[in-house]
């Protein structure tokens, strides 16, 4: 994973997506997107405009019906199911609107889960690193708590650490603050920005919160299945 500056972590050329069905639903009509290492992008758009659809494809969770998607330089149409799984494991991290932590596992176990899935066990350094991240996001006291005993904001912070566990090159966050009050939302956002600049991980965040959107490096808007840039109002600092 050599991240030469300016090199695209994810690149799409003419990405199209139409959901099949009795009446096929065309959602994305040709998206050209280039995400370079370490940058922070927010994506906005009307409900139903296809933001989640795009994010799922960028994260190799779904496949496009047209165009090219390259993740870490690899055209995902050339990959098998397991090849896509490897990308999701090693290159991409996901954060969703709901925290989606496993209720059977503690906060710490949830956060190391991606490492366990990848190679069966976590080394003591990895464990230490995850623990330090959890302390960083303010969960130092909650390591052995189960998700249902933690607050929404705490769970979402744990989910962010989980997304970082395998040191991905990019984190895709689909409305990560959507379920949180504005205070915890802002806290979660600030964390993501910090991680992005400190660890050098690119972030693509879908949000309805205009204030947060404008705190990104770039804002992109999906409209009518196409993507267009939006001027950033340089306002709140991270």
């Amino acid at each position: 994973m050599s991240a030469a500056p300016g090199e695209a972590v994810i690149e799409t050329i003419g990405l199209k997506k139409t959901y099949p069905g009795k009446v096929p639903t065309p959602v994305l009509f040709g998206i050209d997107l280039r995400v370079v290492a370490g940058e922070f992008i927010s994506i906005i758009g009307q409900s139903g405009s296809g933001k989640s659809t795009l994010l799922n494809i960028l994260g190799a969770l779904d496949i496009p019906t047209g165009g090219v998607v390259k993740i870490d330089g690899v055209d995902i149409s050339t990959l098998t199911e397991d090849g896509l799984a490897v990308l999701r494991s090693e290159v991409v991290g996901f954060v969703f609107q709901a925290h989606f932590l496993l209720e059977e596992l503690t906060c710490l176990e949830n956060a190391v889960l991606p490492i366990l899935i990848r190679k069966g066990e976590a080394t003591s350094e990895e464990l230490e690193w995850i623990r330090s991240l959890l302390v960083r996001v303010g969960l130092g006291e909650k390591l052995d708590k189960y998700p249902d005993t933690m607050s929404g904001g705490e769970n979402q912070r744990c989910a962010i650490v989980r997304a970082l566990a395998n040191r991905p090159r990019i984190v895709l966050a689909d409305e990560p603050t959507g379920n949180l009050d504005s205070h915890s939302g802002e806290e979660v956002f600030r964390l993501m920005r910090q991680m992005s600049s400190e660890v050098g991980i690119a972030f693509v965040m879908v949000t309805h919160d205009e204030r947060l959107a404008h705190a990104a490096d770039r804002i992109l808007m999906i409209e009518d299945g196409l993507m267009r840039p939006v001027a950033v109002k340089p306002r709140i600092a991270a």
């Binding site: 799984a85 490897v86 989606f100 176990e109 066990e121």
Partner: protein, 419 residues
């Protein structure tokens, strides 16, 4: 997650997660374990009961008869039509079955030593046996005569414990023990003298020293080996060797072995009771059928619980895939869950089944039969072999039941699952 460090890395996460699923499954986990366990209990009970009954009936049937009878038959009459060079074409060519003619076993001591070397053989005894007539004055009555050493014969066809009067052990050469029916026909009692004429010999005067009854007599008489030999005029030979085995169901194998080792005809008890053997086979078949259906039923129950559980976990499956889990990792998680249920269920079922069978075998009948100690009301037996087989079959059925939900979990589309 500590002792799991012993698991191979390739399956460690899958095992750990399966374990967590089982633990957090609570009542539902116990329900599936109970389904497997009940299957195992039923199988162990059915097998224990059917095989126990079979053993009991068989030993009742065979305790008083030789298990294997070794003889050297005279050549059988051949139908005329089968004789090479015969003109054939006879519409009816029936061969009359003659009174059993036997060749003598001259080197019967060899037969005894060969037979006693065969595994499963408990005891062997040489005897002479033949037909004759017993008379006390007037009408002669048909009698089947056995000449053998009383102590040896006692272990083949017990006489002493069925004695009504007198004694059998310590029989002298001019003495005889007869069954109750023969004594009735001749109207004699212990101490009386009778005369027995064998088909090939001279009349022999004998004194009755014992009368026994087995419930259904056929007119039998026991004399010493020497007396029998001289009555049938066969010198120092015998014409039959009797074998008693430990495992009654191994008698066929012993008979086969004897036929091969010795140039003789060795017949197992089972060839004398073909209908009985057939009914045993039918019983065994139904025991296997019931067991099979029980396991199928319990695996359906398990499959349906697991299918529901996979559906409830759809979201989690989507998450796992989104953080890099491969399809067969997901499948393994649910298979290990099934395996855990299988192992826990079959072990608990075996323990409970053994306990049930053991407890049920405790109550004894109030009165023993024929002076023996009281017998169990339920003649159940526990055989480690079929307990292990029941556990194995139940585990296999459970894992197979888990296969379907596990595959559907693996195939789940992460995007749809998380919606």
């Amino acid at each position: 997650m500590t002792i799991t460090a012993l698991l191979p890395l390739r399956i460690r996460f899958e095992c750990q997660l399966a374990w967590r699923h089982l633990r957090s499954g609570g009542g539902q986990t116990w329900l599936t374990i109970a389904a497997v366990a009940s299957g195992v209990i039923i199988v162990i009970f059915i097998m224990g009961l059917i095989f126990g009954l079979q053993k009991k009936f068989t030993s009742l049937l065979t305790e008083a008869i030789p298990h294997v009878t070794v003889q050297v038959p005279e050549g059988k009459p051949i139908p005329y039509a089968d004789i090479p060079g015969s003109k054939g074409g006879l519409s009816s060519s029936r061969s009359e079955l003659q009174a059993p003619q036997r060749k003598n076993i001259d080197d019967w001591r060899t037969v005894l030593s060969v037979a006693s070397e065969i595994p499963n053989v408990q005891t062997v005894s040489a005897a002479v046996s033949g037909q004759g007539f017993a008379s006390k004055g007037a009408n002669p009555v048909g009698v089947s005569l056995t000449g053998a050493d009383p102590a040896e014969q006692e272990r083949i066809t017990p006489v002493t414990k069925n004695l009504i009067a007198g004694h059998y052990l310590g029989l002298a050469s001019d003495e005889v023990v007869v069954d109750y029916e023969l004594a009735q026909d001749l109207n004699v009692a212990v101490g009386d003298r009778i005369r027995i004429t064998s088909i090939s010999g001279v009349p022999e005067p004998l004194r009755i020293t014992g009368i026994y009854s087995k419930g259904q007599g056929r007119g039998s008489a026991y004399v010493t080996l020497r007396t029998g030999q001289s009555m049938l005029g066969i010198g120092n030979s015998v014409n039959v060797v009797y074998v008693k085995v430990f495992d009654i169901f191994g008698a066929d194998a012993v008979a086969e072995r004897l036929s091969v080792l010795l140039d003789c005809e060795a017949k197992s008890w089972s060839s004398e009771f073909p209908n009985f053997v057939t009914s045993l086979q039918a019983q065994s078949a139904s025991a296997y059928l019931i067991s099979g259906f029980t396991l199928i039923a319990s695996s359906f129950a398990i499959a349906s619980v697991l299918i529901v559980s996979v559906q409830r976990k759809a979201k989690q499956i989507g998450i796992l895939k989104s953080i890099g889990a491969r399809s067969n990792q997901i499948m393994l998680v649910f298979l290990f869950e099934g395996l855990g249920i299988a192992v826990a269920g079959s072990v608990m079922g075996a323990i409970a089944g053994i306990t049930v069978v053991y407890l049920l075998s405790l109550p004894k009948q109030a009165v023993g039969r024929g002076g023996g100690s009281p017998e169990a009301i339920f003649p159940l037996i526990l055989d480690p072999l079929y307990i292990l087989a029941a556990m194995g079959a139940a585990s296999l059925a459970t894992v197979l039941a888990a296969l379907l939900p596990a595959r559907s979990a693996a195939k789940m589309n992460p995007v749809d699952a998380m919606r």
